[in-house]
């Protein structure tokens, strides 16, 4: 479960192929023009962002929230659900009281 070790990022400005790979991960249709425009932009932004590696050694504990609280939990008590029709009314396609989607090709996980 360990992640691969840290990479030197500046050595790898994003190529168009990598942009396409990331777009696939993000389920984002991009045109060839989009890709051509994004590759240098993303490279520039990431190169700028890469500065974060100049400080904060591994012994600095990452911070996500300012207050170090833990165990925020609720009791196992039921709460009201939503009316089905109200939720389904927002769906682009709903049939037989369910959300409808086109054919699913691959099972992901």
């Amino acid at each position: 479960m360990r992640r691969p070790s840290r990479r030197r990022v500046s050595e790898m400005a994003l190529s168009e192929a990598e942009v396409r790979h990331v777009a696939r991960l993000a389920r984002l249709d991009l045109s060839d023009d989009d890709v051509a425009e994004l590759a240098p932009q993303l490279s520039q932004i990431l190169e700028y962002a890469e500065q974060v590696g100049e400080v904060a050694a591994d012994d600095v504990e990452p911070m996500v929230h300012p207050f170090p609280v833990t165990n925020v939990m609720r009791d196992d008590h039921p709460a009201a659900s939503l009316p089905r029709d109200e939720v389904l009314s927002q769906a682009p396609d709903a049939r037989e009281d369910r959300f409808a989607v086109p054919r699913i090709v691959a099972e992901d996980a």
Partner: protein
Amino acid sequence: MTSDLLTDTAAGLAARMAAREVSAREVVDAHLDRIEATDGDGTSDTDVHAFLTVVADTARRHADDVDQRRVTGRDLGPLAGVPLALKDLFTMRGAPTTVGSRILEGWVPPYDATVTEKLRAADVIVLGKTNMDEFAMGSSTENSAYGPTRNPWDLGRVPGGSSGGSAAAVAALQAPLSLGTDTGGSIRQPAALCGLVGSKPTYGAVSRYGMVAFASSLDQAGPFARSVTDAALLQSVIQGHDPRDSTSIDPVRVGRDLPDLLADLDAGVEGLTIGVVTELQGEGYEPGVLAAFEDSLRRFEALGATVVEASIPHASYGLPAYYLVAPSEASSNLARFDGVRYGLRVDAPTAEEMNAATRGAGFGPEVRRRIMIGTHALSSGYYDAFYNQASRVRRLIANDFATAFEQVDVLVSPTSPSVAFPLGDKTDDPLAMYLNDVATVPASLAGVPAVSVPNGRGAEGLPTGLQVMGPLLGDDRCFRVARALEADLGLDPVPSGANAVAPA
């Protein structure tokens, strides 16, 4: 009479309604008329275009209801009957929420945000939903899928962003109050550019439940107003622990109450130590912005405060850290917009293709850019160098603030490096646009509260803002310092200038 209702403060209107000098219905009608007269649909360059949706009928009904309850002697809150403009990112039943995006076009949320509930409980009357940079990603409101909002001080310029619609609505006298959200400066920067008071509360002081998420560990809702008192009043209404938001501050767990924002509001700055953040001034800041800032520092000293140099040594790493943390979280938060449960769908033969086509068509360029940055930054092999490392930098910046607050009561800086810039000026250069957030991002990363208060005029007579940053849960102190400067300056909050919105 009408123009006087429009220029009055929220506190002033509330007092007049309480004294039955004017009804909530009259106040609401005056503001709806003003919206009608000035807002337009964004197609003309004289349109402010602050609103995406106006809920006139609901607002009028609510106003009548408030008036009726007041007649029957019912106890009403301190802002009862006061109109408000709500950023189009808070869910509210019965009205669409678009977040400035095509991908949510037509979505009518099935539930109310906690903030929306609190507004209703306080009888604050929502006039409508305001324009914003798509998914709150931007600093000019030009990234809205529904056209830009214009700055009421100069209709050729941007109002700032991402809460530009909420800022412009209050500056244009369309509402005395509005709510925005601030992830890296999205309340403070437009407040500065529109000559308003804007506050980003301590992270967790206001519930995020029902706020369409941009970056969960940074997002906070906060007020815009034309006076510090109004902003503090509104923040008092919306703050408080919410069990539906695990990151909302629970006084029992944190061991401290949320601050009373009004008790010491007018206590002045005498005896306080104000730290000037060395790293957040100088190069990159416009001369007019720096001049106004220097003037404010002299005023603080004259008012009895001790002004000292202070340091947030890692401040310059704030922007790069922010532009990793925020897009990373956003890339995941925005994954749910896939054409299955709500919003836009672009048809395609398979679910995968439908997802990708919908997202490709539904998200604008800046949102796509950030999803791409964030997806890459979280991907295998990069996580540690990017998200994790940026989170370490957050810790350093938070520590810097904690250390500084051992010496000073508040920290100050200019809110924005520039006054409002012309529409289209920075749209071709994402990184130049990101630099707008340089002064606001450190407080966001640390989670500390910060208030922007108008502190004079810079280039072209346009407003400038001063940012007051406090320690965690020191929101009251930020408002108090802002109030002292506001009182000393006595600026007129109504837009003026050659290209300003028509006067009320």
